[in-house]
């Protein structure tokens, strides 16, 4: 098991290293940031001074190495636009994003589990059909459109919930629901098909023959095994959540990493882009690592296959 964790960790590190190079190159390629920060009438000398001051005149390899070295200790440089250390911006935004992601994940699980399980248990009934409609809509609705419609109807016309910002519990509801719906769709499908398969298996039949109460058969005997594919995909769901958050945070004016990334890209703020993308990648990689280890614990076949 330790061996598995070690190699899996090594693999994540290599992936992150490759990614940091790609991000560095791409961020340098998004155009000259000086055009954005210097006034229109700046002279060539002003450009040269600013370039030297920001360290943009050094060789790329040197810039990259100093970037990685400092990133490892949490120093992502100074935001070119906000003129504040990037780490401060991250510290301010990251908790908001994590809270929203956690809330959305909670919404997804709370909706997907009962719906997915009931859809399998009562296959072909109204519950099943409702579940399938919820799931197919979740995969077909453009998230940002749902967000706009919700802002207009629920926050605008009915005035039930706040339209944006991050004040109190109520402001979580709309963005959390919008984010969660897409994940619900996939999770519910997996649970449904997993449950259908397991409910048909020999050991479930045996449990029923032994006289185990049906509720216990479904929620304990069957669910345990139907969960395996869901756990496998938890990492992918998380990556989807992080991605979708960029759009959702933009519409709901949510002060999170997604908004930071969007603002960073529109204003060509290299340090911010690098920091956000790398932080996101590290989080996604960590979640994936945990998921794989968890999976190896649940399913011994994975452990011994490597």
């Amino acid at each position: 098991m330790l061996r598995f964790v070690f190699f899996r960790l090594l693999q994540s590190m290599i992936a992150l290293a490759i990614l940091s190079v790609v991000v560095f190159v791409l961020a340098r390629a998004t155009g000259d940031p000086l055009h954005m920060i210097l006034p229109m009438n700046a002279s060539a000398e002003d450009y040269a001074n600013a370039r030297q001051y920001l360290g943009l005149d050094r060789p790329y390899v040197e810039q990259y190495l100093s970037f990685v070295g400092r990133a490892l200790v949490g120093d992502f440089g100074v935001s070119i636009r906000a003129r504040r250390p990037v780490i401060e911006l991250l510290q301010a935004r990251l908790p908001n994003s994590l809270k929203l992601a956690a809330f959305a994940m909670g919404v997804s699980v709370a909706l997907a589990f009962p719906l997915g399980i009931m859809a399998a248990v009562r296959k072909g009934t109204g519950v099943d059909r409702t579940a399938q409609i919820v799931s197919i809509l979740g995969q077909s609705l453009p998230t940002f459109w749902v967000a706009i419609v919700l802002v207009e109807v629920v926050a605008g016309r009915w005035q039930w919930l706040p339209a944006g910002g991050n004040e109190g519990f109520t402001s979580y509801v709309l963005p959390g629901f919008t984010l969660g719906w897409f994940v619900v769709a996939g999770m519910m499908r997996l649970l449904r098909s997993g449950m259908l398969e397991v409910l048909d298996s020999e050991y479930v039949k045996l449990a029923r023959l032994k006289g185990v109460v049906e509720t216990r058969v479904v929620w304990v005997h069957a669910l345990k095994n139907a969960l395996i594919p869901v756990v496998t995909f938890a990492g992918i769901y998380f990556a989807i959540l992080v991605t979708t958050a960029i759009v959702v945070e933009t519409v709901f004016a949510w002060p999170g990493l997604g908004r930071l990334a969007y603002d960073g890209i529109t204003s060509r703020d290299f340090p911010v882009i690098q920091a956000v993308v790398l932080t996101t990648a590290v989080i996604v990689a960590l979640v994936n690592l945990c998921v794989d280890c968890l999976y190896a614990v649940i399913d011994p076949r994975i452990r011994y296959a490597r």
């Binding site: 290599i14 706009i148 207009e152 605008g156 398969e197 496998t232 960029i246 759009v247 996101t280 794989d292």
Partner: protein
């Protein structure tokens, strides 16, 4: 990441009881939208680029002040919304189909090579695939779109750069299973080289999976393209793109709801239709793929 697609399904027959009726409604929606996209210049009631500030924010025909000259109303610059949606269909469908074709060709090739050669080739290719898979699509597409500048071609490339990994992973999983089968061994004993085995024996046996994946992903790509256009990193204005049109209507959603509502509805219809057809194809061609 663990490859769920290669875990054999215990009871594929379970799902087989589900109805296999042809998804007529979905197919008709796609046919209609494809026709609209092809014939957009002929059937549009107005020029999608023609501005008229006197005719800004005209409501749809059934509302007060609405008129038949602008069936779905007009936008901020007084352009006819219906004509823009018709032309937007070209952008969305072309982006969806092209991106998926590029991504599936690259991904399938990599998956076939990795699965056929195995060993180090496989390990290296799959590490790259994993790294790509774990990267949030929109984030990289955003960076790429801004890097190389927003344009139709760049959006297609930006999304395809990430999307191929999905195909590589699934196809490689299938090839690994196929390689265990006798007919591949026999082909190799008969002297077939790598190229022949891959193109004549492995590829045809993964085609069903490819078709299902392609159909399921066209809808996804249309949504990603719309998201990018919505964020201002996709198809640049004034070209009518559904995502961009929704963004234009975002700030006036209270006073002129139709500007962002109808393009959204168009996206929903097309993506829904593609997803339903994809589901049907999967159930029919390849029930093992149920988890995608």
């Amino acid at each position: 990441m663990i490859d769920a697609a290669v875990i054999p399904e215990a009871s594929a027959s379970l799902e087989r009881t589900r109805s296999r009726r042809l998804p007529v409604v979905s197919l008709s929606i796609i046919v209609v939208f494809v026709l609209v996209a092809l014939l957009a210049p002929l059937i549009s009631p107005a020029d999608p680029y023609e501005q008229s500030l006197r005719l800004r924010y005209r409501p749809p025909v059934w509302e007060e002040r609405g008129s038949w000259s602008y069936p779905l109303g007009t936008d901020r610059l007084g352009r006819d919304l219906l004509s823009r949606i018709f032309h937007g269909a070209r952008v969305s469908l072309a982006a969806g189909v092209l991106t998926v074709l590029v991504a599936s060709a690259v991904g399938a090739a990599i998956g076939l090579v990795a699965g056929y050669y195995g060993g180090r080739v496989d390990a290296t290719l799959m590490r790259v695939t994993d790294a790509t898979l774990s990267f949030p699509v929109i984030l990289l597409a955003l960076i790429l779109a801004v890097t190389v500048g927003p344009s139709f071609t760049n959006v297609v490339i930006a999304i395809a750069v990430i999307l191929w990994a999905r195909y590589a992973r699934v196809i490689r999983g299938q090839v690994l299973t196929l390689m265990q089968l006798d007919f591949i061994a026999q082909a190799r004993i008969a002297g077939a080289g790598a190229w022949r085995v891959i193109t004549r024996h492995l590829l045809p046996n993964t085609l069903n999976t490819l078709v299902v994946l392609v159909t399921l992903q066209i809808g996804y790509v249309i949504i990603v393209e719309a998201s990018l256009s919505f964020l201002g990193a996709g198809i640049p204005p004034p070209t009518p793109a559904w995502g961009g049109m929704i963004a234009e209507g975002r700030d006036v959603v209270t006073s002129a709801w139709w500007v962002s509502f109808f393009p959204g509805l168009a996206i929903l219809l097309v993506v829904l239709a593609f997803n339903l057809i994809g589901d049907w194809l999967r159930d029919t061609l390849d029930p093992r793929l149920r988890q995608l």
